[in-house]
């Protein structure tokens, strides 16, 4: 083997081995959950686990969809996550625009306050928020979850948009202003197309934050009909007696919307997180 070939092989292995290890670490749990969900109950818990399913059944999915309210939980989670995503986009985008592109008194203070709210532990707000939501008759409604999720997702979203807004040259805004565009037009027509990756990032972030939120959903939602997936799934798998197949089927279905969203706009999310990392 020549020196060049050896160097090339070593470089290739140096790149691919970590990638393969990383892929294994990331994919293995999903593989384990999915294959478990199609195994017979006896195979799921047998003494020596099977890497490849020796049996095949859809009974856990059948039970999940026919004997539980999981479809309702799925619908509720989708509604809450979609609304959280939309409202976060509608609030965070103009907020970030004004914070990073406009000059007004107290701007820095507002920015710091927003960051502080992001760092505030949610558990401390549990009881006050519950009481507040009761007074405005929002306990046990999906709107309550949307409001809470937006409250926690927006500060990070605003912060995340900083690099995107700062990357857009001021000259573009000035040119639009000279053409008679007002602030709203500049934001909608000039800025938004240029910060699309950022919008994708905060959309995914808001959706996932909402999709996986457990603590507030478990306390604020009372009736089964309004329950979201994380809380509903925790309930239906049982406490003293765990139905492992049902649990794995539920976990598989729960990951699907997130995977689909990532498949659609995941590239923007990665771009969003790395934007501004190298300047």
């Amino acid at each position: 083997m020549t020196g060049v070939n050896f160097y090339r092989v070593r470089r290739t292995l140096g790149v691919w081995i970590p990638v393969i290890v990383l892929m294994f670490v990331v994919i293995a749990p999903f593989y384990w959950i999915f294959t478990g969900s199609i195994k017979a109950p006896q195979e799921i818990i047998q003494r020596v686990p099977t890497l490849f399913p020796q049996s095949f059944t859809l009974q856990h999915y059948d039970k999940l969809f026919s004997s539980s309210d999981f479809p309702q939980y799925l619908l509720n989670s989708t509604i809450v996550a979609a609304l959280t995503m939309i409202v976060t986009l509608l609030l965070a985008t103009p907020a970030a625009y004004s914070l990073y592109r406009l000059r007004f008194p107290g701007r820095d203070l507002i920015f710091k306050v927003i960051l502080v709210t992001y760092a505030f532990p949610g558990i401390l707000l549990l009881i006050p928020l519950y009481t507040m939501l009761t007074h405005i008759h929002l306990v046990d409604t999906l709107w309550a979850l949307v409001i809470i999720n937006v409250t926690f997702a927006s500060p990070f979203a605003v912060w995340l948009m900083e690099a995107f807004f700062k990357a857009v040259p001021h000259e573009l805004e000035e040119a639009a202003a000279l053409d008679g565009a007002d602030r709203a037009t500049i934001l909608a027509r000039v800025m938004l197309p240029l910060i699309a990756p950022g919008l994708g990032s905060i959309a995914i972030y808001a959706f996932i934050t909402s999709w996986t939120e457990y603590m507030f959903a478990s306390v604020v939602i009372i009736s089964d009909v309004n329950r979201t997936v994380p809380v509903g799934l925790a309930g239906i798998i049982g406490q003293y007696q765990v139905d492992w197949g049902l649990l794995l089927a539920g976990a598989t279905i729960t990951t699907l919307p997130v995977l689909m969203l990532f498949a659609l706009v995941g590239r923007h999310f990665v771009e969003g997180l790395t934007a501004g990392a190298v300047k």
């Binding site: 109950p41 006896q42 799921i44 818990i45 047998q46 003494r47 020596v48 004997s67 539980s68 309210d69 549990l126 009881i127 519950y130 009481t131 009761t134 007074h135 306990v139 603590m215 478990s218 306390v219 009372i222 009736s223 089964d224 809380v231 925790a234 309930g235 239906i236 798998i237 049982g238 406490q239 003293y240 007696q241 765990v242 139905d243 492992w244």
Partner: protein
């Protein structure tokens, strides 16, 4: 076209609003009873709903509805709901949950109703006792759950050993049944910081004679030689438990048993999982009382009498709630209620324990011998902090921090001497109680 569609939509919304308003107006005289329980698995919710539907049909002036909750969050959720004024009328309870709801001033005494039901159905005293303190009864018992020692009969037969009655026999059996090369462990015991570990630790304490956590004056007596003996024996058995058992809750222990990886476990029941996910052979499923130390004469076990608290102070609602509970405790309904999870929930009334509705469930018929042993074991059941007629609500602070489990962890995971760990445990309990009082 758009204008027409808009008008149609508005008309539809208005129509729906009127429709929604109509039934409410028509049902003004109906007393609404909302009750929260923590039996969330779908088949349990379905069984409760069947009973609710029957009750509502037979009682047109009462409308009962269920709102299933989860034990994991009810400790935060229920006080928040009470504080916000939207608590349910009935709320399920276990003994150490009741003092927490009492602290927020929501629980109504149910002395007269419990006396009435006792006369009608005969409550087992051990089910009422944990809810009787400060001069009142604070919840209506509904069912009991008690640990037993579950084992695979054929494993014992192949090893030529008898089911153990004392600790020496138990240790010998566990040693004989462990074959790590074959992946078989003589016993599965948890060491997680979790309620399941609290429960199994207390099983050992009871069977060492250390069942009283408090002296009569309310001071703690956790740090005593019997507790040390219990933890010492736990650690002896624990070395034959699977390596992943430090992370176990009930489900993992049950899976270990059902998959025949564990020859024995301590559990409320394994029947449903054994039938659905395991070998499903009643002849091969053994259950016995938990073995005891040599100096004791009989076995005891941890038991959780589950009950329901009355939260509403509206007299009409109270009477409607009592009517619903009367319905549930009637023998022809009670068995069906308990069998929302056959082989787990045990009757707490004398006529309920003989009810045809209880013993006729197909799974109960199949595993009748095991369930009769469970029922017998539950008669010797007790719960930490609720023993000897003295109830100390501060047990809620000890339970909340899983201090029994934490003490055990110092022995079986950190390798600390049992006596030192028990002394540490008592200190932590005192601190937890003092912190709550501040």
């Amino acid at each position: 076209m758009r204008a027409k569609a808009g008008a149609f939509t508005i008309a539809l919304i208005i129509g729906m609003l009127f429709m929604a308003w109509g039934p409410v107006s028509a049902q003004e005289d109906v007393v609404e009873i909302v009750f929260w329980h923590m039996e969330q698995p779908p088949h349990r919710v379905e069984r409760i709903q069947q009973l609710i539907d029957e009750f509502n049909e037979a009682h047109p002036n009462i409308h009962v509805s269920q709102e299933p909750q989860n034990w994991a969050e009810i400790y935060a959720k229920a006080p928040a709901a009470v504080a916000a004024g939207n608590a349910p009328d009935l709320l399920f309870a276990i003994p150490d949950f009741t003092p927490i709801i009492r602290q927020v001033g929501a629980v109504q005494p149910v002395d007269d109703f419990v006396a009435e039901m006792d006369e009608a159905h005969g409550f087992f005293p051990s089910a009422v006792e944990p809810y009787t303190y400060d001069g009142h009864v604070w919840a209506v018992p509904l069912w009991n759950m008690a640990h037993s020692l579950w084992y695979h009969v054929d494993m014992f037969e192949e090893a030529g050993i008898e089911p153990p009655e004392t600790w020496d026999e138990w240790l010998a059996a566990v040693e004989a049944l462990t074959d790590e090369e074959a992946g078989v462990y003589g016993i599965g015991l948890p060491a997680n910081r979790h309620l399941y570990t609290d429960q199994t630790v207390y099983d050992f304490m009871i069977n060492a004679g250390a069942f009283e956590l408090y002296n009569e004056d309310g001071t703690l007596r956790f740090d005593n030689p019997d507790t040390v003996e219990a933890l010492d024996f736990y650690s002896q058995l624990y070395q034959y438990s699977p390596p992943d058992s430090p992370n176990w809750t009930w489900g993992e222990a049950e899976a270990c048993f059902v998959s025949r990886t564990c020859a024995m476990i301590l559990q409320f029941t394994v029947i449903k999982s054994y039938e659905d996910q395991g070998e499903g052979d009643p002849e091969n499923l053994g259950v016995i009382p938990i073995p005891h130390a040599a100096d004791l004469e009989e076995s005891g076990t941890i038991a959780y009498p589950n009950a329901v608290m009355l939260l509403t102070d509206d007299p009409d609602k109270q009477e409607a709630a009592y009517e619903w509970l009367r319905f549930l405790l009637e023998p022809e309904n009670y068995g069906r209620f308990l069998n929302m999870e056959p082989g787990l929930f045990l009757p707490v009334t004398e006529d309920g324990s003989e009810a045809e509705s209880y013993w006729s469930d197909p799974l109960v018929v199949e595993y009748e011998a095991q369930i009769r042993v469970m029922l017998e074991n539950s008669q010797n059941g007790m719960l930490f902090g609720f023993t000897g007629g003295n109830i100390f609500p501060s047990i809620a602070q000890i339970s909340a921090q899983n201090l029994l489990a934490q003490t055990l962890q110092r022995v079986v995971i950190d390798g600390e001497a049992p006596a030192d760990a028990v002394a540490w445990g008592q200190e932590q309990m005192i601190e937890a109680i003092e912190a709550a009082e501040e």
